[in-house]
């Protein structure tokens, strides 16, 4: 299962070969795609740097897969251009784009062995038999399936099939790697493992990669930058930490990670919530009706017999424990506390909830997206 990182010479050789073509840039300019009355892409602009892994994140129907398929050439945009290394490839057919893609559904050719699957792209490119065989073996080694070349796809587990699909996509040394929710059909454990492997391989090979997912944890953990899409437009493109700490919009704030919405009022230069005043992080919205957006780890919960809050639910997850606390006025908040010191915060106990001393995000009080 495990892949040695640049451990054996063979692996290093393959990676170096793939690195012969350093990551190329991808540029999307005003991509628009309409399906009937649905606008899947609404003038999407995106610059992807060479060798970068960018994750496109968003709820289903936000246009992330359509954007990926437009890059791959399976979807013709109604308007806008796709540029590869500055070259306009909008009208180039999918078979001539030189991109490797891993699909959400299992996509191995059932009538070919694993090694033949990996060599498929090389065969199409009329490489010699010996080279096909050698490359297939190398790439299978690279994804940790060196001994499965003779098997058929149905004899592999889902995770192994996706590894083979990854090897097949990389075998032709493509300019861009496209991943269309490659992990969503897998079990949680395999998903995390393969996710990390994809990232390590990508860094090793240095290939420009677009990773489409609806799972924010997946996006945050592997990507250099994450683009959050909503209704065919980018809400924000930023590194994972920036996205988490300084979301540009309320939509991003609530889509990435868990976010509490607390009733708040703006007072000169600050925001008043839970009985305290904190400075406002980022832009101050207009209008008096606002909500404060607070992460679970930014709430401080203390046992207090006279407190206004009551713990209604408690989920232990190792080092941290997540509490659901009911506040007056029907507000419920989620708070993360260190498990070790939370023995007295049992379900039903009364508590006080305070906000950690740091600037607080404020958004107009609009219905949740």
């Amino acid at each position: 299962m495990s892949v040695s990182v640049g451990g054996t010479p063979a692996v290093v050789g393959t990676a170096a070969e793939l690195r012969d073509r350093p990551g190329v840039t991808v540029r999307l300019e005003g991509l628009t795609r309409r399906y009937g009355s649905v606008l899947a892409l609404d003038g999407l602009d995106l610059d992807i740097a060479g060798g970068e892994l960018i994750a496109l994140l968003g709820p289903s129907g936000c246009g992330k897969t359509t954007a990926l398929r437009a890059i791959a050439g399976f979807e013709r945009p109604d308007a806008g251009r796709v540029r590869l290394d500055g070259r306009d490839i909008t009208d180039v057919p999918a078979s001539k784009r030189d991109m490797g893609m891993v699909f959400q559904a299992y996509s191995l050719f059932p009538n070919l062995t694993v090694a033949e699957n990996v060599a498929f792209g090389l065969k199409v490119r009329r490489r010699g038999k010996a080279e096909q065989k050698r490359r297939a073996a190398e790439l299978l080694e690279l994804v940790g399936l060196g001994d499965r070349g003779g098997r058929y796809p149905h004899q592999l587990s889902g995770g192994q099939q996706q590894r083979v699909a990854l090897a097949r996509a990389l075998a032709v040394a493509p300019q861009v790697l496209l991943l269309d929710e490659p992990l969503s059909a897998l079990d949680a454990q395999v998903r995390v493992q393969l996710r990390d492997e994809i990232r390590r391989l990508q860094l090793e090979v240095g290939i420009t990669t677009v990773f489409v997912t609806h799972d924010q944890a997946e996006a945050l953990s592997v990507a250099d930058r994450v683009g959050v899409l909503r209704a065919g437009r980018l809400e924000q493109v930023a590194g994972p930490d920036e996205l988490y700490e300084r979301p540009a919009t309320a939509f991003v704030a609530q889509f990435v990670g868990t976010m509490n919405r607390l009733p708040a009022t703006l007072v000169d230069g600050g925001v008043q919530l839970l009985g305290t005043r904190r400075p406002v992080a980022g832009a101050v919205p207009r209008g008096a009706e606002v909500v404060a957006l607070v992460r679970p780890e930014a709430l401080v919960v203390t046992a207090d017999p006279a407190g206004a809050g009551r713990v209604v639910h408690r989920v232990f997850s190792g080092a941290m424990t997540r509490l659901t606390v009911a506040l007056p006025d029907g507000v419920e908040v989620q708070a993360d506390v260190v498990s070790a010191g939370s023995g007295d915060l049992v379900t039903g106990s009364t508590v006080t909830v305070a906000v950690a001393e740091r600037p607080v995000l404020v958004a107009p009080d609009e219905p949740e997206p």
Partner: protein
């Protein structure tokens, strides 16, 4: 009825044993199954057995003879009739597949909204009686001498009716085979995620012809075989249209011969039945080998 009785027994006895009547029901179910199988078996086996007995019994001398079977290859008209029928069948299979395979793949990948329309169209030959079809074909063909004599159109229509290889039969048989070909191929297409597979192949640089030949065809192999077999069997057994249009094919030859040499014609029928079974077994064996690989 039995179920109610079973409940009564259980509650009455207060026992934890599985209710006996269910077992009895199962046993009587098995008995019924055998009864149905026996009746069905008789229904199929008796006529075939009678045919076989009719062809191997040596009348006059008594005992058994293979005379009628050994006489088949040399029988007058047999060779030409069977080659013509096989040729017609092969041509029909090829044309039907060339027509339907790209259609079904195209509908599946690009025009899913047309699926119902195509399905209904291919079902038409089942609804339309063959006799109506052939009468229509015959009257159209008769226009050639009546209205178009001397024109290229008439020449083409005459060429279609060459007794040595009647292409008109191929065309009509393609229409008759549509429902079977469509059904067989559609089952294969539905079972495979052609969309993802073709996209994966396109992404790896394969041209459309290559995608069809190296990805789609192998995936649909079993259903293509099924479609081919059904069509082949249809053509090898079709009598009405061939006889009305006045061509000699394998089935019409059998009927012709039965008047003068009944044993010969029946032995040919038995033989063709055996060949058909053989083909059927071959296909399912191919299928099973693949299935075995799937579960291995």
């Amino acid at each position: 009825m039995t179920a109610t009785a079973g409940l009564g027994t259980v509650t009455g006895a207060g026992s934890v044993e599985p209710p006996r009547p269910v077992r009895r029901g199962r046993r009587s179910g098995r008995r019924w199954r055998w009864a149905v199988l026996a009746v069905l078996g008789l229904y199929f086996v008796v006529p075939i057995a009678a045919s076989v007995w009719f062809t191997v019994r040596d009348r006059g001398r008594g005992g058994v003879t293979a005379r009628y079977y050994t006489g088949i290859p040399g029988a007058e008209g047999f060779a030409s009739a069977i080659t013509r029928s096989v040729l017609l069948a092969v041509l029909t299979v090829l044309i039907a597949l060339l027509l339907m395979l790209p259609t079904i793949v195209l509908v599946d990948l690009r025009l899913p909204r047309l699926r119902t329309t195509v399905e209904l169209l291919t079902l038409l030959p089942l609804v339309l009686p063959p006799i109506a079809l052939v009468v229509g074909v015959r009257s159209v063909l008769s226009w050639a001498p009546d209205y178009f004599y001397g024109t290229p159109l008439a020449d083409a229509m005459f060429a279609l009716q060459k007794p040595s290889l009647p292409w008109i039969l191929v065309l009509v048989y393609v229409v008759l085979a549509l429902p079977f070909v469509y059904r067989a191929l559609d089952a294969g297409v539905r079972g495979a995620d052609l969309r993802t597979l073709t996209e994966a192949a396109r992404n790896l640089g394969a041209s459309w012809p290559r995608v069809l030949a190296t990805v789609v065809l192998p995936v649909l192999r079993t259903s293509v075989l099924n479609a081919a077999f059904l069509t082949f069997a249809l053509v090898m057994g079709e009598y009405t249209i061939a006889v009305i249009l006045g061509f000699v094919t394998f089935p019409t030859w059998i009927v012709q011969t039965s008047g003068s040499q009944p044993q010969l014609s029946v032995s040919v029928s038995v033989l063709s039945l055996a060949i058909t079974w053989g083909l059927l077994l071959l296909i399912s064996a191919l299928d099973r080998r693949r299935g075995g690989k799937d579960t291995a």
